[in-house]
């Protein structure tokens, strides 16, 4: 019962938001309190690794819709609560209209619905809902760049979901069910059935478009960097992970190891390359999100329970620090009068100290310095014995991330008399869990936590990677490199999906 209330209440609250400006803020606060209370209740109820499952309307699993609060939902709900609080605190100073709060409620309701969904068609509907709502939120300020970015997002996401739907149809024809765990059972019974490769291609391509895998979802950098600040934080911190969640659920049913390894490696390396040579802070953060998604996909490719726990751990950590970075980047860009690195560096005395501190904490966390959030989660992935190839990609990405974020160094010089920020509370909400991430994971999800601690080898490894990144920055950092922009145009972005369609068409001939 409580599971159905968690997402559905948000849609009711979202409609209530239209009553007026002051009402919308109260409603948003009420929504946050309710979610926080429900999440804490559910986390306590499932603290020993149990799951809560209900069949909606009292139907059995093979007929009705099953929702389940499992380890994935348990891992994400604290992130949702923290990010939402930070975004609400930040938005309080921004004077947003009721529509903004209404869409925010719809977005978070959809996020919870996706975390609880256990069957393919619900996942399809909720992913489409997420597309629609985040499309409206990206274009919320109606600037042409935002409208164009969100339009590209909508077109690509809609194509991806069409392919996903065909995959769902195919699976339903051959298994007679949409429930993922039942599909898993049927596939284990006959793993070499001829329709499985085709269904796998369609599902993986469809979800990858939403999850930010390079080659299929080149909408990401434009959409995440053009969106309003709070929305960038939510999209990069939370919404993009919903694609990864579906990919995780699909990868538990279908054998995907090698595909995900290739997709993840390309995404991680190309993403970090573009991040290293991006000219503005928000764009750099968006590209870095792309590379971090590659990281998560590689973790999924390893596929052991430890690796999956590491993926969840890293998804949460990334949500926290990328949310913090985007919020701080928005305020820094406004204070400095522009978000490009030279503008930020030139007007750095105008950036409030709290904002700089937030950027600093976020940077330390994303490059994986111990004992911050990024380190705990990265070492969890490192500790699950990836193949040498995956390990090399991990190292390259970490070094590249340090190289990219070294461009922020000019901002971090300590100085007196800086301006005060009125958004300190929003930063604090995210910075505190980042600083105490390792104890935080140990206490909240003992089932997820890996005995990483502060192993000397891992500490040396991460320090070495950061040092290598800084050295590279001294050596290469001032060289201007123009990477092809065409990769991220709409026509070129469709090509990857078109290739996947060709592959599907060839596989269809074989069925």
């Amino acid at each position: 019962m409580i599971l159905a209330v968690l997402p559905l209440s948000r849609f009711v609250l979202g409609v209530l938001c239209y009553a007026g400006k002051r009402v919308s803020r109260t409603v948003a606060a009420v929504g946050w309190c309710a979610t926080a209370a429900l999440s804490i209740y559910l986390l306590i109820a499932t603290r020993d690794g149990a799951t809560i499952t209900i069949g909606l309307g009292g139907w059995a699993a093979e007929l009705g819709i099953v929702v389940r609060f499992d380890a994935v939902a348990a891992a994400f709900s604290p992130l949702v609560v923290l990010l939402e609080l930070a975004v609400l605190l930040y938005a309080r100073k921004e004077d947003r209209a009721p529509l903004f709060y209404a869409l925010l409620q719809f977005l978070l309701g959809a996020v919870f619905a996706l975390l609880l969904a256990q069957d393919l068609f619900n996942e399809y509907v909720i992913l489409e809902l997420l597309t629609l709502v985040s499309f409206l939120l990206v274009g919320y300020e109606r600037r042409p760049a935002q409208i164009w970015a969100s339009l590209k997002y909508l077109v690509l996401a809609s194509i991806g979901m069409s392919l996903f739907l065909v995959g769902v149809a195919l699976i339903y024809r051959h298994t007679g069910t949409l429930n993922l765990s039942q599909i898993g059972g049927i596939i284990q019974g006959r793993p070499e059935a001829d329709w499985i490769p085709l269904a796998t291609v369609l599902l993986v391509v469809g979800v990858s478009v939403k999850a930010g895998v390079l080659g299929l979802s080149q909408w990401l950098p434009a959409a995440h960097s053009a969106a309003p600040t709070e929305i960038s934080a939510l999209l990069s911190g939370l919404v993009i992970k919903m694609g990864v969640v579906v990919l995780l659920r699909v990868s538990q049913v279908f054998p995907l190891g090698l595909t995900l390894q290739a997709l993840g490696a390309v995404t991680a390396v190309v993403g970090v390359l573009y991040a290293a040579y991006a000219k503005s802070l928000k764009r750099m953060l968006a590209f870095s999100t792309l590379s971090q998604i590659g990281y998560l996909v590689l973790g999924l490719a390893i596929g052991t329970p430890e690796a999956l726990a590491g993926v969840l751990d890293y998804a949460i950590a990334h949500g926290l620090f990328k949310g913090l970075l985007f919020l701080a980047a928005g305020e820094a860009a406004r204070a400095a009068g522009g978000g490009r690195f030279e503008e930020l560096a030139a007007h750095r005395e105008l950036i409030p100290r709290a904002t700089t501190t937030a950027l600093f904490v976020g940077t330390l966390a994303i490059v994986g310095l111990p004992p911050l959030a990024g380190f705990g989660a990265k070492s969890a992935l490192f500790a699950c014995h990836p193949s040498p190839f995956v390990f090399a990609v991990f190292i390259v990405t970490t070094v590249g991330t340090a190289f990219a974020f070294a461009k922020l160094l000019p901002l971090f010089r300590w100085r007196r008399g800086a301006r005060r920020s009125d958004r300190t509370s929003a930063y604090a909400v995210l910075a505190v869990p980042i600083l105490f991430f390792i104890p935080f994971t140990v206490t909240t999800f003992p089932s997820l936590h890996l005995a990483t601690g502060l192993e000397p080898l891992l500490v040396i490894e991460s320090l070495g990677a950061v040092a290598a990144g800084l050295l590279l920055h001294r050596w290469l950092g001032h060289r201007a490199v123009r990477l092809p922009k065409r990769l991220f145009f709409l026509e070129e972005a469709v090509l990857g999906i078109l290739l996947a369609w060709l592959l599907a068409a060839i596989l269809l001939r074989a069925v």
Binding site: P144, V166, A169, K282, G339, L490
Partner: protein, 119 residues
């Protein structure tokens, strides 16, 4: 058979989105893509010589699978919403830039970003 036709429609839509530069044509092609996927979904509910799945006594009648038909309704509504919203946003772009050519829009947006200094 209908399933393959659906896949082909999907492909035609994809090719059109990739090679035509007019945004309105791109959206029409998006509609075609979505229609292809919907056709695939309808096709799997079909059984040879089956009746419509509305019957008083269904024990000895072979009827088409009603579930895909129910799913299709959701998919159609979603795709309708997507196309409608996309058209509104194309309208905003045309008001701003007086063009529906995607390359042109891309260049103009890039120029605005370089000049504006926002973000």
């Amino acid at each position: 058979m209908a399933f393959s036709v659906g896949i082909v429609l999907l492909g035609i839509g994809l090719v059109a989105i990739a090679i035509r530069r007019d945004l309105v044509i791109k959206l029409l092609a998006l509609g075609l893509t979505n229609a292809g996927s919907i056709l695939c979904l309808v096709a799997i509910g079909d059984r040879p010589d089956a009746h419509v799945p509305i019957c008083a006594v269904c024990h000895d009648v072979l009827y088409a699978d009603p579930l895909p038909q129910a799913l299709v309704l959701s998919a159609i509504v979603i795709n309708f919403a997507i196309l409608a919203l996309a058209l509104v946003f194309v309208m905003r772009l045309v008001e701003q830039y007086h063009t529906t050519d995607s390359r042109h829009v891309e260049d103009l947006v890039q120029r605005d970003l370089d000049e504006g200094g926002q973000q």
